[in-house]
Symmetry: C2
């Protein structure tokens, strides 16, 4: 049974403020929880409706009813299990491969998709500006499908980081050079901007004109750009295809 | 003012059954409505909160209150205008360029994103299996951002169509040949499958083994595939990059 204080505690973790205060976040669903149990993420506790659930980890496991799972879940149709994990300290960024840098991504689904894409394309480090949506937000985690276990995510002053690695930064713009015609280097920073306004002026100022890249448009020219997660898919595919 | 019968009529169009019965669908938001007003789509009527709204088209325009717009809208935060348009008869498919074929796409957001991608990459024809989500569903239209005005969409027996154009069909699979290493022809059918189960057996049976393509995975191998809309972005980018 889930007691009142547990319910209150778990629900509080759906808010960023309490996640930071407790250093904990909630992951839901069999696939995502099992990916995190097979990762370096440390477990705080597990709530499951599956009586046969077992883990080799030393952690508190609560066997609860479907009704109780519904009460503690952030989903309409919760999937068997909910895990509380410790927010890991980010590892040092390794600039010997491509690193993705996000400047103010707001939509949880977009961030989740980008994390999943990083995992697919073997990008191990993702740097987010402080105003990017929190990667431990339940909607982000849902969209990552467990990929969060394999991508190191750092929230930091991206202006400072880009300034330090200036020549490596490639910015994605509507009016940049075609990504198909540019020689992409073996390593770099792929900078993606906000859904509505793109890369901020402050960051754009640090990106060399010759490092502004775009996905060519083949249809009738319209002002609408591609969605940022869709664009990320194409840029990362180009980076790997060309040997970067 | 919106009278009861109008409210009932507009709300009915949020259901596929009544869209088909009336041959009409609803588009919301300034950008999408303006794109459709600048297209060949025929207008039934317009509801707007903007007193200064004008159109050269001969159509009924209702100037309504924000409150009334909220009542007739399918959105939480409706955006100024709602248009009712006639569902167009699909044009004949032109197989001289690439055509996208969808086999059982269920998620409205995925279909909307794929329509937007077709528009971006100049793919003019999209064929959907009858069990693919309806493209005039409000959530699909919201995700297309107006692109529906520029892509011809046909719901049809895709098995029959693929059978007729057998050598042209390229199927997207987890275990196909790398799309980076395949010579993509100048024209073809790009077949994308259902979110959970991929291309159905019935359709897969019609696709030659040598025409099965995939996006290589660079990270740690996991069972989770890329989202179908994200995969579509990469395949379409590869088709255009390689000159298809």
């Amino acid at each position: 049974m889930v007691v009142k204080s547990q319910l209150k505690f778990i629900k509080s973790l759906y808010q960023k403020k309490y996640r930071i205060q407790n250093g904990l976040f909630v992951v839901e669903g069999k696939k995502a929880v099992s990916e995190l149990l097979n990762s370096k993420f440390k477990t705080h506790s597990i709530y499951t409706v599956e009586k046969e659930f077992k883990t080799a980890r030393k952690t508190e496991v609560y066997y609860i009813s479907d009704q109780d799972l519904s009460r503690i879940s952030s989903h309409k149709n919760p999937n068997k299990i909910l895990g509380i994990f410790e927010i890991p300290a980010p590892a040092a960024i390794d600039y010997s491969d491509w690193v993705v840098v996000l400047d103010g991504i707001q939509d949880p689904g977009n961030l989740g998709t980008i994390i999943r894409l990083c995992d697919w394309f073997g990008i191990r480090h993702l740097i987010c500006s402080p105003d990017t949506v929190d990667c431990y937000n339940p909607k982000v985690l849902h969209a990552t499908m467990g990929s969060i276990a394999r991508v190191n995510i750092l929230y930091a002053d991206i202006a400072e980081l880009i300034d330090k690695n200036k020549n490596m930064a490639m910015g994605t713009y509507m009016n940049g050079k075609s990504v198909y015609s540019v020689n992409l280097p073996e390593k770099g920073l792929l900078v993606l901007g906000n859904e509505g306004s793109g890369i901020s002026e402050k960051i754009g100022f640090l990106i060399d004109d010759k490092n502004r890249i775009a996905i060519p448009q083949y249809g009738k020219k319209t002002t609408e750009s591609l969605n940022v997660a869709t664009a990320a898919a194409i840029f990362l595919s180009e980076i790997r295809r060309s040997g970067g």
